[in-house]
Subunit: 211 residues, 2 copies
């Protein structure tokens, strides 16, 4: 093909569309093909109103969403979150979680009526996360200043989760508070054939007397 035309080995979409595709690629789990699909969908299938709402929500996001100053949950229009703001909950129990996503899962399970504390991470020397990098001191302050009777550690049972739970429970030895940890074991409705050895080990270790 020797007609002197421009060779597009890597033809790109028009600039704004190409840039939008690159924006989508910033997200976890979104690769080249998916980003192309999402960008084209934005152009062809979202109407002007939907684009406007999407764009506005992105723009307002970091300005509107803050951390609750008591527990580090997310909050909007208020210094404290809807949970901390609810005076009818059990003031004597705090459930410690790693992040907001976990808090939402626990709250939506509707099995806990105390308050939460979001650490914002787990102790992980390999990742350079020390106890000071997560909201442990703030938790201790709450124990000191409020009449907390029980602290429930609801962190995941990874090495980092166990390390963090141990660290916190040791700090809380100094206080007149009961420290409990949620149970590890076999999940509900999972075929026993597919369990990993670690989970089985924890399930055995945590066995309870039934008669």
């Amino acid at each position: 093909m020797d007609k002197g035309y421009q060779v597009y080995f890597n033809m790109k979409y028009p600039q704004t569309l190409e840039q939008l595709k690159e924006c989508f690629k910033l997200f976890p789990g979104i690769g080249e093909k998916n980003a192309e699909r999402l960008a084209l969908f934005s152009l062809y299938d979202l109407d002007d109103e939907q684009i406007k709402i999407f764009s506005n929500n992105l723009t307002k996001l970091k300005k509107n969403i803050k951390k609750c100053k008591i527990c580090n949950n997310l909050t909007e229009d208020n210094d404290i979150c809807t949970i901390c703001d609810d005076k009818n909950r059990d003031k004597e129990v705090i459930c410690v979680v790693e992040n907001v996503k976990n808090l939402m899962s626990f709250e939506n399970a509707n099995v806990f009526n105390g308050y939460y504390h979001v650490l914002g991470g787990l102790i992980s020397p390999l990742d350079g996360i020390s106890p000071n990098d997560i909201n442990i001191n703030q938790l201790i302050n709450r124990i000191e200043n409020e009449n907390i009777k029980e602290v429930i550690l609801a962190l995941n049972s990874s090495v980092e989760g166990e390390t963090t739970s141990l660290y916190i429970s040791k700090l809380l030895d100094n206080f007149d508070v009961s420290v409990t940890k949620i149970a590890s074991g076999i999940p509900v409705d999972v075929d026993m054939d597919y369990l990993d050895p670690m989970t089985i080990q924890k399930a055995m270790e945590g066995r309870n007397k039934i008669s």
Copy 2:
């Protein structure tokens, strides 16, 4: 649990974050969990500059991106696309494709140096798409007004694609132009074990004499 606290059977994130999550859910292949992940990533992991670029590209998208008035490819800052604007290509051949994504695939394969025509869909009575709903008349105008020697039909080999190809080739009977259709057969580098019967049928029907 009778302490009178508010029961969150379906606790939501703060409003702006919840709305952003709903925006992500508008996209194909993005469900509840994925949308939650993308919204949280927007909050925690995109910096202000990235949010601004993302938001701006969304806002400018429909205003900046237009259809090429010759071939319906996408274009920005110009009435005609970069391909139609390239005078060094083969003016005697038009390759007809269904959509811009297909055009990009063909162009990036770097095997064609003529011009394109994007139909913007396929004839599909079941979906209410008639020949007048796609850019067929515009294609005929191009054949009438330019010195086109060959029209290559590069539509997919579905029922709708075949119908559309047949319709166009019949219209072009009236013109002194060669109409060709890209080959159907077994894809390159695909294990023959996994081919469907329709593909095998087409591969057999399209067999060529080699000696």
